[in-house]
Each structure stands twice: as C-alpha cells, then as structure tokens.
C-alpha cells in the first residue's frame, strides 16, 4: 500500500512501473530504531504482567490465549509502521516487494530479541523485588513451559514471522491487506465479545450459535474461528461487488436529490431544516435504540447503561471543555453532587432528611444543587486561564470528595460508609427502575441521553454556543465583540454541571448506594479521555468515544467487555491519551469543522499559496519584494 498523502496523482499505476529496490537497500538506522523501540515495548508489556494475567483467557481454543496475543500485536504494528513511506510530489515511488517483508521481519526479530534476553535474564537473575512480574509464571509463558533455549530462540522466530506479515501488508494490494486486517480484527472481536454475543443469541433465542462458536474456556473454537474469517471475507467481497455495481450509483443519485430537498429555510423549526435522508436515518437509529434493549440480556443492558452514564458525563464535560474551552479537571464534582443529592433525599438509610422524597423530586433538587455547585466552582476559576484554571478545578474536584468523606459532614453524608439502601425510580406509577433490572435502567439512561444530546445540539448552534466557541478561540477578542465572557463561561459550567448531575442521580438509583471513593479524581480523568478520544466539541464523537472506551475497557468503577483488562485499564487510558495527542489530535470522529481545519483546507491553502507564489515570482522577476517604501 502506498501512502500518497494528499496527492493521489502520484499513484502512477498507469505510468511506467515503479522502480524496485534491492533486498538489502534498507533504511538501517530506521530499522534499528524501530527494533529497539519494539524491544522496549515488548519487555514492558511482559513485565507489566499482561501475558500472565491474560493467559487464562483463551481467544482461539487450543492455540491462542489473550496472554500470547498481548506479545504478538506490537511486532505486527511496528513492522507495518516501519514499511510506511510517504510519497510526496516529486519523490520516487518505489515498488513494494520482498524488501519490505524483510524490513518488517528484521525489525520484529530485533524487537523480540528483547524478549529472548528477558527469558535468559529471568533464569539467571532475580530482581523480583522491584519488578513484581519478574516471575516464574512469566518465564513459563515465555519459554512455552519447555526450556529456556526454546524460548530464547522461538521468540525472535515468531517476531520474524509476524514482522514479515506486517511488512507484507504493504506488498499486498490494498484490498488484500485491508481484508487481512479486518479478518484479524473480526476474529479477535468475535473471540473477545464472547459474553455479549452469547447474551445476544440468548435474546434472539438462537443459543445454539454461541454454543457452537465458543469452547469451554470462552475462546472461539478452532473451526469457529475459520468460519468467522471466511464469513468476513465473503461479506467484504460481496460489499466490494455491490460498490462496483451501477445500482449503487443510482441509489446515491437519488439520495443526493433527497438530501438537497431539505433546503436552508431558516423560518422552519430546526428539526425540519435537516435533509430528509438524515432525518430518516435519525428516526431509524432512534427506533433501533429503543427496540434493541428488549432483545439484550442483563449483561449487555448493564454494560450499555454504564456506557450511557458516561455519555451523559462526557456530553456535559464536552460543553465545558469542548465548546467553551475551559479545561475542567474536577468534573467529577458535579457527578458527586448529583449522586449524593439523590442518595440523601431518597434513601431511608441516609442519616438526615426524612421523610424521603421520590426520585424525580430529588433529581430536581440535584439539578439545582449541581447548578449552584457549577456557579460556586465556576465563579472563582473563570478569571484564571490555562494551566492555573486546570489546577484549581482539579482541587475543587477533590474538595467535594473530601467533604463527602469528612467527619464534619458525616451527619449528612455518612462519611466513608456512604449512603446505602437507595430506592429505585418510580416512573409516575407506570414502572419502576431498579438496579437489578438493567433493562429499565438502560431505558432511563437513554431518555436522559436523548435530552442531553438535544440540549447539546441546540446549544452548539445557538448564540451562546457561538459565544463559547469565540471564547475558546480568543477570550479577550470575544469580549471586545460584546460577549459577556463571565456569564457565558458560568453558563457553560452550570449547563455542564446539570448534565453531569443527571448521570450521578441515575447512578445512585442504579447502584443503590454511593460512597465517596466512587467520585475519585480518576473519574474526571476518564471522562476527559473519553471527550478527547472522541473528538472535543463534537457530539457524535463524544458518544462514540464513550461507547468504545467505556464499553470495551470499562469505566473507573464499572467493568467493560474486556474484564481481563481491569487491572490495565488506567494504563491503557493513559497510553491512548498520549497516542491521541500525538497522532490524531482531532479525535476518533473529528467534527466536520476540525477535519476541515486539519486536512482539506491545508491542501486548498497550499495549492492556493503555490499559485500565489508562482504569480509573485513571475511578477517580480525574483527581485526584492516589498522594499522601497518611503
């Protein structure tokens, strides 16, 4: 696969065949560097204990466990990365071939030599004192329960193999390499999503499928893995054939017609201004979301309810960080206010405030209190900027937790014992939402998510939304344009706080108890990672971020799909954040605005600049520019 950057014209498929390079004509320093990085990475993964912890979980029944996979994926990624070359205009695009396979193989061989050294190291030295995982168990996995020398020899060999595959992905046509990657990911997904798939098949009464797919140790069985792979290849080939067929063009043409029929008549209400096709999609999505929980089992509903709680939190924080540009590291405070307000007001177990009031009444009080908390926290911090502001919000987030924990207020909040016995939600005598009925909780969460999405969407496109974005871009100029920056920023805090309190209020009713340690600083950080990962200032992105991160890894106190990862959750959150900041600062789903900013416009602008420069040169004849002014 050739990285062509923004200039697809250099693909050169129809021109003369691209020149080849000799097998040993390698970029040696780059290979060495990548190999060294890989070695450090592999040793780090091994010593972090992942192989040992994950070894219990089988992915493909007799042959592959999650533990071994944790040592296999990095060589593949790094060897693929080594073979990437950006071909810009004016550069020679070399043909891919055996040289790339060799490059990948050598990089990964070098990297896994690090593991071989580790095997030898563990047998000869004992530094288990600082490094807890420098253990016989790790050694056992690294030497395949055989001998040291087998381990020391086989890891570089495995590296060479995976590396050759990684490098070979460049050689293969883009279709084949894409199919390979998707097949690998699907098999991995099918294996890892075992619990959800089992849950789904139970919902649809086709348990036989999941019984056939998964073996006794929860991994895909050998034949099932092959069937999944073949099925994916089949679907992809079918899709490709469909894309190439003329029928699709007709459909697309009709779709275009529908899309433009919406028009931009500003007198109609906002939802009517949407293009028809988008409206249809929206209705279908909403219908699917409403119906789906009926077919899901407890586990999946529970999982989705947790995801929903974090969607609420992330949408709230998105208003503060994404729209108004205020880096709030203490957002958990509002989550806590919501949770504890409902707990104190509804639970018979709370030390003060009897008689208890119903959940909806408590929610109203929680919103008010969270709004007030937003004002109290916001008022002193909005006059600060940047780092100082972030540090102060960090402090406020902790203050709330410490107050909840304190002896001073234990008469109300019960200190470290927390408040238990919180009743469920009575929905106007129609239904009761309780934690042990995850489906009802999910519906409650969905209603509030819908409210939050609508509110965020309307705010983003409103006057105050524009004011927030202007403040995010340049606060003092926004002020000079007549924006009341103080009240706009307070408004962002209050709105974000109220959305966060929804989440806390539902959490109380769902779990039935609240404790100060449920509202630790890590919650703030996870929410922030969700927002950044999804794409700041972008509603679909934030939702996708919550689904992916909370759904798969789990929240700070909530299990995700990969329960094995629980110990490594925070490590992965941190690594993801670093990677996002370096590689994809615009987020998982960049907002249209940001994508445009980061890519297409650069291209347009570059093209325009080049034309300008050419014109200037022609005009000035290369003479001195702009001189000779009186």
């Amino acid at each position: 696969m050739t990285e062509t950057g923004y200039f697809p014209a250099t693909q050169g498929a129809t021109e003369a065949p691209a020149p080849r390079r000799r097998l040993l004509d390698q970029d040696w320093p780059k290979l060495l560097r990548a190999g060294a990085i890989l070695a450090v990475g592999q040793v780090f993964i091994a010593l972090s204990g992942m192989p040992v912890t994950f070894d219990r979980r089988l992915l493909i029944d007799p042959i592959l466990s999650l533990g071994y996979l944790s040592l296999l994926w990095l060589p593949l990624v790094v060897s693929y990365w080594v073979g990437r070359e950006q071909v810009l205009e004016g550069m020679t695009a070399y043909a891919k071939g055996g040289r790339d396979v060799l490059a990948g193989a050598m990089t990964a061989l070098l990297g896994n030599a690090g593991l071989a050294l580790l095997v030898v190291g563990i047998t000869h030295f004992d530094i288990r004192d600082p490094l807890v995982n420098w253990s016989p168990q790790l050694l056992g996995i690294l030497e395949f329960e055989e001998s040291v020398w087998l381990g020391a020899l086989i890891w570089p060999a495995i590296g060479a193999g995976t590396g050759a595959l990684g490098g070979g992905l460049h050689w293969a046509s883009s279709r084949i390499s894409r199919t390979t990657v998707i097949v690998l990911l699907s098999v991995f997904g099918a294996a890892v999503l075992e619990s959800v798939i089992t849950d789904l098949t139970q919902g649809f009464h086709i348990e036989a499928v999941s019984e056939w797919l998964y073996g006794p140790k929860r991994g895909l069985t050998y034949p099932a893995a092959i069937v999944v792979a073949v099925a994916v290849v089949g679907v992809m080939t079918g899709l490709a054939a469909y894309r190439a067929s003329p029928a699709r063009d007709e459909r697309a043409a009709r779709g275009e017609g529908a899309a433009t029929s919406g028009g931009s008549d500003t007198t109609r209400p906002a939802w009517r201004r949407m293009p028809t096709r988008r409206l249809v999609n929206l209705v279908l999505t909403v219908a699917a979301i409403v119906v789906l929980p009926l077919f899901l089992g407890r586990l999946t509903n529970e999982l989705l309810a947790n995801v929903g709680l974090f969607i609420l939190l992330a949408l709230g924080l998105n208003i503060i960080v994404g729209l108004a540009g205020i880096l709030d590291l203490g957002y958990v405070a509002f989550f806590a206010v919501g949770g504890y307000s409902v707990a104190v007001l509804t639970s018979p177990g709370s030390p003060r405030f009897d008689p208890e009031i119903p959940w909806f009444g408590a929610l109203f009080v929680a919103m008010l209190l969270a709004g007030l908390a937003g004002l109290f926290i916001g008022a002193p911090v909005i006059r600060m900027r940047g780092d100082y502001l972030a540090i102060v919000t960090l402090g406020f987030g902790e203050i709330i937790r410490v107050l909840l924990l304190s002896d001073w207020l234990s008469g109300t909040f019960n200190g470290a014992q927390g408040i238990t016995n919180i009743p469920g939600v009575e929905v106007f005598g129609l239904a009761t939402v309780r934690g042990f009925e995850p489906r009802s909780v999910l519906y409650l969460v969905l209603v509030f998510c819908a409210i939050a999405v609508y509110v965020s969407w309307r705010l983003e496109n409103s006057r105050i939304g524009r004011a927030w974005m202007a403040i995010r871009e340049d606060e003092s100029v926004a002020e000079a344009m007549g924006v009341d920056t103080v009240s706009a920023k307070l408004m962002a805090f209050v709105t974000g706080a109220v959305l966060g309190s929804f989440s806390g209020a539902i959490l109380s009713a769902k779990v039935g108890s609240v404790f100060p340690h449920s509202f630790a600083i890590i919650v703030s950080i996870v929410i922030l990672v969700v927002v950044i990962f999804g794409g700041m200032g972008n509603i679909p992105g934030v939702i996708a971020g919550a689904v992916v991160l909370i759904g798969i890894l789990g929240g700070p106190n909530q299990p995700g799909l990969l329960q094995e990862f629980a110990e490594y959750k925070i490590l992965i959150y941190g690594a993801l954040l670093v990677w996002m900041m370096i590689q994809r600062s615009e987020g998982l789903i960049p907002s249209v605005r940001r994508a445009r900013e980061l890519h297409i416009d650069e291209m347009n602008q570059d093209a325009w600049l080049r034309a300008q420069a050419a014109a200037d040169d022609a005009h000035n004849g290369g003479g001195n520019r702009g001189g000779g002014r009186p």
């Binding site: 524009r466 974005m469 202007a470 100029v477 344009m481 007549g482 009341d484 009186p630």
Partner: protein, 265 residues
C-alpha cells in the same frame, strides 16, 4: 444597538456625512487617568473624535496607546475622568454595553477566531445585533468591500493568508456597524507590502463613511492617511495637530519619527 444615538447611519456605505458639522464628538476622553495597580499609565488624556474622521494616536512602546483603547472599550476602568460616546458618559458601563453603543475594535495582529470559519467570524462581529435584515445588508457590504472574504466564507480563518486575515478582521468589526472603529496597530506583524495594502484598506473603509480611530507606531504611514493625530509619550498627550503639521513638526521628526525610521530601515 441603541436607538437614542443622534446621527445613526441608516446605511453603512453612507459617505456623504464626511463633512457633518463638528457638533458633538462621537468619542471623547475627558481628562482620563488610568492606573494598572499603582502604576500611572494614562495622564490627563483628552481626546475628541468627530463623525467621519480618520484620526490616529501615535506613540512608541509603552507610551499607553493600547491602554487608551482598553480604557475606551471598558476593559480597564479609568481612575478619574470620563469616556463619552455620542454624548453619553459610559465610564461605568461594561464592554458589552459600549459595544452595543457602537464602538468596535480591530485588535492588533488581527486575532481572528482561527478555528471558526470566516463566516462565523463575521457573525461574531454582529454578536450583539438582533436586526437580521441590517446584519445581512452589512454582510453584503463587507463582501462588496472585500470580495475575497466572500470567496473564503467557509474556510477556517486560521488558514487564510495574512492579508486576507486582515480583511476578515476589519470585516468582522464592520459587522457591528460601528459608530467608531478602533484599530490597534494595523501595521503590526505584517510584511511591508501588506502594511501598505492594509493602510489602503483603512482608507477604503474610511471613504465608505466609517469613523476610524487608529493607534499606531508607524507614524509616517499613519499620518499619510489620517486627518489629525495625537502623539502620546509616557501616557501624556504631547502633541495634537493636523496630520500635515505633525509630519512637519520638528520635535516629532527629531525624536520619535527619527528612531522609528531607524528601526524600520
């Protein structure tokens, strides 16, 4: 916009008010003193700007030029003295209220909202206006003045070239339909060729009927297009005269312009 201002322009491109009698200044500073903490920045500054004028305030670094603008906009409060807009004392009013009364600034170095589109930048200029028709008319007027802005309407402001950004910055300010336009160092941070282009833009909008108060270090450049000017030295107005007289003034040439000329080659 307030409705009690005496001679509010009905249509922005109204150039015919150029010579309207010097009845009452659009903007007036009356014996203004401004402090930052204990530091005395502005010392008894008196300024008066009349409708249709293009005037400039000259001064070197740290002479108090930017503080003057901040005082006018209400971002700092004067210790003593008054800021008067169209006869109304606004000393105790907020920036927001002053912007609503018709004073707008083009900040130094353009300072566009870089990640918003050009169109959204223009909208922000009209943030306090609620008259959709008038806003749309002014938008068309800005496009008429700067056709290139219209071409780049959906582009991120941060991706424009320096000259285009300057047009958007001026356009954004014009969207407020200001009674008086404040310009903070329009020559700052621009290549020499662009400085000239920029001053041409200023002349252009001035001849379209906009009253302009410009704060500038580049005295030669500013005085070549201004009607009148003041020279500020360490917070005190030391000279006040017509542009031609100022250019010919020996003190100015000897001290201030001399050094400016050296610095700028």
């Amino acid at each position: 916009m307030s409705s009690d201002t005496p001679d509010m322009k009905t249509s922005a491109p109204a150039a015919e008010q150029e010579a309207s009698a010097h009845a009452e200044p659009v903007l007036e500073l009356r014996a203004v003193n401004t402090h930052y903490g204990a530091v005395h920045i502005l010392k008894d500054v008196d300024l008066a700007i009349y409708s249709g004028e293009l005037v400039c305030l000259l001064g070197g670094n740290a002479s108090g030029k930017s503080t003057t603008l901040r005082t006018i906009l209400g971002m700092v409060k004067p210790t003593t003295g008054d800021v008067v807009l169209n006869g109304q004392v606004v000393t105790n009013q907020s920036t927001r209220e002053r912007v609503a009364l018709g004073v707008t600034m083009v900040p130094e170095n353009r300072r566009l909202f870089k990640r918003l589109t050009v169109g959204e930048n223009l909208e922000m200029g009209a943030f306090l206006r609620s008259d959709a028709d008038g806003t749309a008319a002014d938008r068309e007027w800005v496009f008429e003045l700067f056709p290139r802005v219209k071409e780049r309407l959906n582009q991120k402001a941060g991706t424009l070239s320096g000259g285009e950004q300057q047009m958007v910055a001026i356009g954004r300010a014009l969207m407020a339909r200001p009674q008086i336009l404040l310009m903070d160092e329009p020559s700052m941070g621009l290549a020499p060729a662009l400085v000239q282009q920029n001053f041409a833009l200023i002349q252009q909008i001035h001849s379209a009927g906009v009253t302009i108060f410009m704060v500038e270090q580049n005295a030669n450049m500013a005085l070549s297009i201004a009607d009148r000017g003041w020279v500020l030295q360490t917070g005190r107005v030391v000279l006040s005269d017509s542009a031609d007289n100022l250019l010919a003034h020996p003190d100015l040439q000897a001290s201030y312009l001399g050094t400016a000329e050296d610095e700028r080659g």
